[in-house]
């Protein structure tokens, strides 16, 4: 029997990203669920089942960093890989300081994403 695949939650308001990333993730052996907003994610059981989040920084209503804060408040220590279309180190560094595993600038390669996921999952053993 195959071990259960680790669940990765992709949270991005961009449909194109939501369509393309799960395909890549399953290629690397992950299960993926997509959410178009932070609220949608929080309302789902993925909050407890996900191993890692691929989280967009800039989203309407609740932004990526807002969700990071909210999860911290709920003591849900999820691994987070931020992705952002704004190539700005001034945004990236504070996110890393607050515990994010990585912050990738869009567009990034599958390889870069894979390396980030490896790094993330190494930090926590199941």
């Amino acid at each position: 029997m195959m071990p259960p695949r680790r669940l990765i939650a992709v949270i991005d308001d961009d449909e194109s990203v939501r369509h393309s990333l799960p395909n890549s993730l399953s290629q690397f052996g992950f299960a993926a669920r997509v959410f178009s907003s932070a609220m949608e994610f929080l309302a789902s059981d993925a909050v407890v089942e996900s191993s890692c989040l691929i989280l967009d920084v800039k989203m309407p209503e609740m932004s990526g960093p807002d969700l990071q804060q909210e999860l911290k408040r709920r003591r849900r220590a999820l691994l987070i890989i931020f992705i952002t279309a704004s190539a700005d180190e001034d945004v990236r560094q504070p996110l890393l300081k607050r515990g994010a595993v990585e912050c990738l600038f869009k567009p990034f390669t599958e390889t870069a994403l894979c390396e980030a996921l490896d790094a993330a999952l190494k930090t926590r053993r199941h």
């Binding site: 961009d14 194109s16 990203v17 395909n23 890549s24 704004s86 700005d88 567009p107 990034f108 599958e110």
Partner: protein, 625 residues
């Protein structure tokens, strides 16, 4: 009036001779004179003599004393006659007037204390001597010896100051009592005359003084007149200056007597209002030139003016008969004159050009703001980075997925097709972003006009100076003022220039070991193209970068998008020109250049002459005023 000579003059009789001197009594014969038979009183002669003296007094007062002795000689028919006056030191007598035989002794001298004259003074009365040489030996040296000498005192102001005398040198004619009476009479008259002459002299000196004063006054008047003439000339000049100054500063002046509505205008004010200076100015006339929209304020100002003396400063528009507009700046000051009448004095300056250029500047500024907003890569990055990167991520990942699906065994054709759809739409999204950007950069319609690139460059430099100075960049310009015009879109070309300028400034941001200097040049290059170069002292370029610099999304900056130069290239190419970059041949930094061909001759001819400068915002805005 009488000068006293030196007592040792040559003609002096004051020389002693070695002879035994007779006593005074032995020579004085006054009593004998009185007892001599007396000839009849000769009033006629006396009157004639006195008349002559009066005439002399009137005609030539300076010679009155000489006239006196002449008349004595004549009336008494003596041989000699004379006048002796005490010198100032009262030590001797001086003979200021002598007539007859002794005339050569004129201005001679005799001692005060040893002379017949002295004896007369001592006694204070007339005396008659015979042969005075017997007691007073100096008479021996006289031209002729005196046989008889008749002397009477000569008074001035009640004081005896001398004697008047007559001398007969032989006994052929002897003095009698009538001679004494005549001599006394004439001496009295002479005293009076002498005093009169002195008064006249005083008067004369007074007159002279007055004449002097008058002459001084005349000179003063002359000077004053000259000064008045000079001042008048100065005034005329300053009026001319004023007129010129009014003309140059486009400032006219006016005065307005409020009660009588008497209005006086300077020539320049007539010129500003474009009115004939011969036309009397009325409020109605002024109203007729006032812009309709400014009439309420015009009436309001007049109403307030009538309430008293105020100080005003306001701006108003005039509407000329040809519907052109003028802006005037008015400063007026009200005051009451001596009679308590209210009068306003005012200055009116034509500030039309200033207003128009301010409006043009405002428009240019807002135009620049628009340009800056569009070209400022910082703002641009923030607003569009997200929009471009988003589809790019989709393209990258979907392309990978697509490839994988096709490579699978069996290939997932359906999945690949679906993924390719996303790929396609992401591609369109990215293209839309670029399309949107391009439309931001170009106005809805491009306006091609003949323009002077140097002038366009100067405008950009002027308006972006603040921004450049904030980066501590020093901008040097070397613009050829004789460039042939180019046919182009002014705003787009200025966007390119601004982009190059801001890039140059950006490239020097971290430079602190050398001046952050930007040199902008415009010139006609060797290919007869109009060229602009922007040379900075910044970080410079790698040779490998040269090719890619003008590609979209290629950037050497950490926060750059790589859009500015690619758009610049498309603008320059639209102008049939080319744009390139090169490292500076000497020193650090890079030089960005573009060159565009000058407008063809026929382009100039085919354009409406007005189109030669439609670019100036001033002209455009003036039409809308």
């Amino acid at each position: 009036m009488i000068s006293y000579p030196d007592a040792n003059a040559d003609v002096s009789l004051n020389r002693a001779l070695p002879v035994a001197l007779a006593s005074l009594e032995s020579i004085v014969r006054t009593e004998e004179l009185r007892t001599r038979p007396r000839r009849p009183v000769e009033y006629g002669k006396e009157t004639a003599a006195l008349a002559a003296l009066v005439k002399a007094l009137a005609d030539s007062p300076r010679t009155i004393l000489q006239t006196l002795t002449d008349k004595i000689l004549e009336v008494l028919q003596s041989d000699s006659a004379g006048l002796s006056l005490l010198t100032k030191d009262e030590k001797s007598f001086y003979w200021p007037a002598v007539s007859g035989v002794w005339k050569p002794h004129l201005r001679g001298c005799a001692p005060r204390d040893f002379s017949p004259c002295g004896d007369v003074l001592d006694r204070g009365a007339p005396m008659f001597f015979r042969h005075t040489e017997l007691r007073y030996p100096y008479f021996w040296s006289a031209l002729e010896l005196p046989a008889e000498v008749l002397l009477v005192p000569f008074y001035l102001n009640g004081k005896t100051v001398g004697t008047v005398w007559a001398v007969n040198h032989d006994d052929s004619h002897q003095f009698d009592g009538e001679d004494l009476r005549l001599l006394e009479s004439m001496a009295r008259f002479a005293s009076a005359a002498y005093q009169a002459v002195e008064s006249i002299e005083e008067l004369r000196s007074e007159v002279t003084a007055r004449e002097e004063a008058e002459r001084g006054l005349r000179e003063l008047t002359g000077t004053l007149e000259a000064q008045v003439r000079a001042r008048t000339e100065q005034l005329r000049l300053s009026e001319a200056f004023l007129a010129q100054a009014q003309h140059l500063s486009r400032t006219g002046s006016y005065s307005w007597r409020v009660a009588t509505n008497e209005i006086t205008w300077s020539k320049q004010l007539y010129r500003i209002y474009e009115l004939d200076p011969s036309v009397p100015v009325t409020l109605e006339l002024i109203r007729s030139r006032t812009h309709p929209e400014d009439l309420p304020s015009f009436y309001d100002a007049i109403d307030r003016t009538r309430t008293g003396a105020h100080h005003y400063e306001y701006e108003r528009r005039l509407k000329m008969p040809d519907n052109s507009l003028k802006y005037i700046h008015v400063v007026a000051h009200g005051a009451l004159d001596k009679e308590g009448r209210l009068e306003y004095i005012g200055a009116v300056q034509d500030v039309t050009e200033r207003r128009l250029s301010e409006q043009a500047l405002d428009m240019a500024r807002s135009e620049l703001t628009r340009m800056a907003r569009v070209t400022s890569l910082g703002a641009l990055t923030a607003s569009i980075a997200h929009e471009v990167n988003q589809p790019l991520l989709g393209i990258v990942t979907n392309a990978s997925t697509c490839l994988r699906m096709l490579a699978a065994d069996p290939p997932n054709i359906e999945g690949a097709q679906e993924t390719a759809q996303f790929l396609l739409s992401d591609g369109h999204r990215a293209a839309d972003v670029i399309k949107h950007l391009r439309s931001l950069f170009s106005k809805s319609s491009t306006t091609m006009e003949l323009l002077d690139l140097s002038e366009a460059t100067q405008e950009v430099v002027t308006l972006s100076l603040n921004e450049l100075q904030r980066n501590r960049a020093i901008v040097l310009t070397a613009c050829d003022q004789e460039l042939p015009p180019v046919l182009g879109d002014r705003v787009q070309l200025q966007q390119v220039i601004l982009n190059l300028l801001l890039n140059a400034s950006e490239a020097m941001k971290g430079i602190d070991d050398r001046p952050r200097q930007v040199l902008i040049r415009t010139y006609l290059d060797e290919d007869e193209n109009v060229r602009l170069t922007v040379q900075d002292a910044g970080v410079g370029l790698e040779p490998s970068e040269m090719e890619r610099l003008f590609e979209s999304f290629y950037t050497t900056k950490s926060d750059g998008m790589g859009i500015g130069l690619s758009i610049s290239r498309s603008i320059i190419e639209r102008h049939h020109g080319c744009i390139w970059a090169a490292p500076n041949s000497r020193g650090p930094g890079a030089t960005f250049s573009f060159a565009i061909p000058p407008a063809a001759e026929d382009a100039m001819n085919s354009l409406d002459p007005d189109a030669l400068r439609p670019c100036t915002a001033a002209a455009a805005s003036a039409g809308n005023l």
